[in-house]
Structures are given as C-alpha cells and as structure tokens.
C-alpha cells in the first residue's frame, strides 16, 4: 500500500522520542523512489485520460499519497532538527564522534550552521555596552548552590580556576568546586556531580 514505508519511518523515530537514532538513509531513498513511481503512473494516466474521466479518482488517490509522503518526510526531518538543536545545547559546537555518526551529512551541515548562527547571536548580546557576549548554554539550570562536590572520572590534568588557583584533576579524586566552573566539565563527562 502507498505510504506504508513512511509510517514505518515515523514510528521508528517515535519509539525513542528522547534520543536521536541513526539517520535512515535507505528507507528515505525507498520512499522517494515510491514517490517517483507514483508520480510516473499519475503522469501516464493523466495524459491518457484527458477525455476519459474514469481514471481521475485513481490519480487523485495517488496524488494524496504523494502529498502525504512529502509531509511525513518533512515531519521526520523537522523532528530530527529539534533533537539536533538539543544536542547543540548539551554538547556545545563540537559533537562527540559517536553522536556525529548518527547524523546525515546534510544534517551535520545544518548543525554547523545552527551552531554558527547561535554563536553569532550570543556574541552580539550586550555588544553596545562593551560586553563580549554571553554564553547562554551555561546556566541551563537554576543555580542551587555556589559550590558543588564533584568526582573526577578521568585523568584530566591541571585546571586553573577563575581566582587563579590551580588544581589537579586526577581519576577518582573528589573536589569541592564553584558550580559555574565545573558545568562544562560535567557536560563533557570529565567530572560527575556527587549528590
């Protein structure tokens, strides 16, 4: 039946609504192929039946199938775009390689463009009063306390704090650090917050 593949595609994407799946290149190719076949059949029938209207219903049904396929494909992409956006906020402008693999080339290009656009917006913040911009990806959660206790997961090396102190981040060492300064490291997976 028409449009079956596209529903499979959407169902698949919906199953993991929080995480992003591998871009389903193969299925999308098949769907587009189906669209081409439908289109071809429609063209043939439409040309053959200019005076005979008996095939019009068929043509119309196929046309709706085409419209539906297009709509579902766009929905699929749009949904993924929203997920990719969250990736930008979580990981910053550089994606870890395993996540990068899940995106298609065009999606990755979109990600870079989104990232650049966001970065240039953030740079423009407060420009008039001599600010060099604000990083909105910090402060994602309301600040609860000034310092938090963190566990170091990997051997990271030296970290210089804002006030000039230098601390050594070794695997399995515990630290009591200013929340602001370890947010990025927590997101990168270097530190883990102990609650």
């Amino acid at each position: 039946m028409f449009g079956e593949k596209v529903i499979e595609l959407l169902k698949e994407a919906e199953r993991n609504s929080d995480t992003i799946d591998l871009y389903n290149d193969e299925k999308i190719r098949q769907i587009i192929q189906e669209m081409h076949i439908l289109f071809k059949m429609n063209m043939d029938d439409a040309n053959a039946t200019t005076e005979n209207k008996s095939l019009w219903t068929t043509v119309q049904v196929r046309h709706s199938a085409l419209e539906r396929n297009k709509r579902c494909l766009l929905a699929y992409l749009y949904n993924r775009m929203n997920k990719i956006k969250t990736l930008r906020w979580e990981f910053g402008s550089v994606l870890p390689p395993d996540v990068r693999e899940l995106l298609s080339d065009s999606e990755y290009e979109w990600f870079s463009k989104y990232s650049t656009n966001l970065a240039s917006y953030m740079r423009s913040l407060g420009e008039d009063i001599g600010y060099s911009g604000i990083d909105l990806t910090e402060n994602l959660r309301p600040p609860k306390s000034l310092y938090i206790e963190v566990l170091c997961v990997t051997d990271y090396g030296k970290l210089e704090l804002e006030d000039g102190d230098v601390i050594m981040l070794k695997k399995n060492s515990r630290h009591y650090l200013p929340t602001e300064e370890c947010q990025t490291l927590i997101r990168q997976g270097v530190l883990k917050q102990i609650i």
Binding site: I28, L73, E109, W110, K113, L136, D163
Partner: protein, 216 residues
C-alpha cells in the same frame, strides 16, 4: 531578593538596580508563560549586564574568605540565570514560530514597533534560511517535480492564542471583552487591582504587553 543584595551596585542612578531587576523578573515571568513572543526588554537586559559587571568588580575587591562575597556571588548567579533563561525562552519561541514571527515582525518593523531586537531578527531569518536549505538538500530536491516547492505557509506553526493563562492585575481595568466563539454573545468583564484570574490569552494579550497585567 531584597535591596541589600544589590546595594553594592546602585550609587548615583535614578532607576535603581532593584527596579531594573524587578522589571526583568516580570518580563521573564511573562515571557515564560505567554504563548507568543512579547516585545523585547533589551534595555533592561543591557542595564542589568552593566550592573553585573560593576558588581563583579566590587566583589573581586573583597577578600575571598569574606562571607559577603559568597552571598553576592550567589545573588549574581541567580540574576545571570534569569537573564540567560529569559533570552533562551525567547530564542525557543523564535525557533518554533520562526515563520510566523518573521512575517509579523516585518510589518512591525515598518511601523516601528518591533518585538525582536535586531540580532534576534537576524537570528530568526538565518534560522529559516538554514532550515529551508537543509530540507531542500535532503528531500525536496529529490522528490518528483510538482512536489519540490518549499511551502512556507504549510510549515509555519502558530502560537495558540486560545490557551488559558493565570494572571494578576496590576491596576483596575474595565471592559475587557471576552469573545464568545460559539454564539455571538460577547461578555464584558472588569478586573480589579491585585485580583487574580484565569482567562483566555487572546483578549488580554495587549494588557500583558503594556504591563497592565502580570502572568503568574
């Protein structure tokens, strides 16, 4: 948040840092609760950023072990969070309703009543361009001829003006007209200062924008 926390920063200005913060907090609250994008408060944001800079310099003068420095730092972090979250909420709306917003904004710019800051507007336009080129590269250029168009109007998402919001009146307002969608008996209501209501967003949208009511 009391005045003491920011006393470091306000010295000679008429508008105190406290009132700026209050306005910003209200704007933030409204922005988070309203379905559509509201006029920007860029001047307030910039003013607050200036204050933050000023306060940070003051805090750095204090010795590190001083209790005051800790408290002020915490306060600063909270203010920064408000600003970031405010701007982020706006960005979120801009991305979601980008097509609708850019179309309306173009008319508003002509009338000089723009809701977005210039950089937000640039961001929205760029966002649409990127989306269009991505969709074209992946799908639209590969589908049969008559399906290739990128239909902006079909892609547009509009904010839901008919949702209900909680609100508090800052002053007494008379004659708010509530439309009766099914019949044609419109209802007119008055709300008193400091009273709280649950109303549809649409009739009170303008009141939110000119600050006569506060969403809660």
């Amino acid at each position: 948040m009391d005045a003491e926390d920011i006393e470091l920063s306000d010295d000679e200005e008429e508008i105190t840092a406290e009132s700026v913060l209050k306005t910003l907090q209200n704007a933030w609250q409204n922005e988070r609760l309203a379905p559509e994008i509201l006029p920007h408060h860029n001047d307030m944001v910039e003013c607050m950023l200036g204050q933050i800079q000023h306060m940070e310099r003051n805090i750095n003068k204090l010795p590190k072990t001083d209790l005051r420095s800790c408290i002020h730092k915490m306060e600063l972090n909270r203010i920064k969070y408000i600003i970031c979250n405010y701007l982020k909420t706006r960005l979120g709306k801009i991305e979601k309703y980008c097509i609708a917003i850019v179309n309306e904004e173009k008319q508003r710019i002509e009338a000089g009543t723009n809701y977005l800051t210039p950089s937000e507007f640039r961001y929205a336009q760029e966002y649409i361009t990127n989306m269009e080129s991505h969709l074209k590269n992946t799908i639209l250029n590969h589908v049969p001829g008559n399906m290739q168009s990128f239909e902006l109007n079909k892609m547009a998402i509009y904010p839901n003006f008919y949702c209900h919001v909680f609100l508090k009146a800052n002053e007494t307002i008379n004659g708010i007209i509530l439309e009766d969608l099914l019949g044609d008996q419109d209802e007119e209501i008055d709300i008193e200062e400091d009273s709280q209501h649950i109303l549809q967003y649409k009739p009170i949208a303008d009141l939110v924008k000119n600050g006569k009511v506060q969403l809660v």
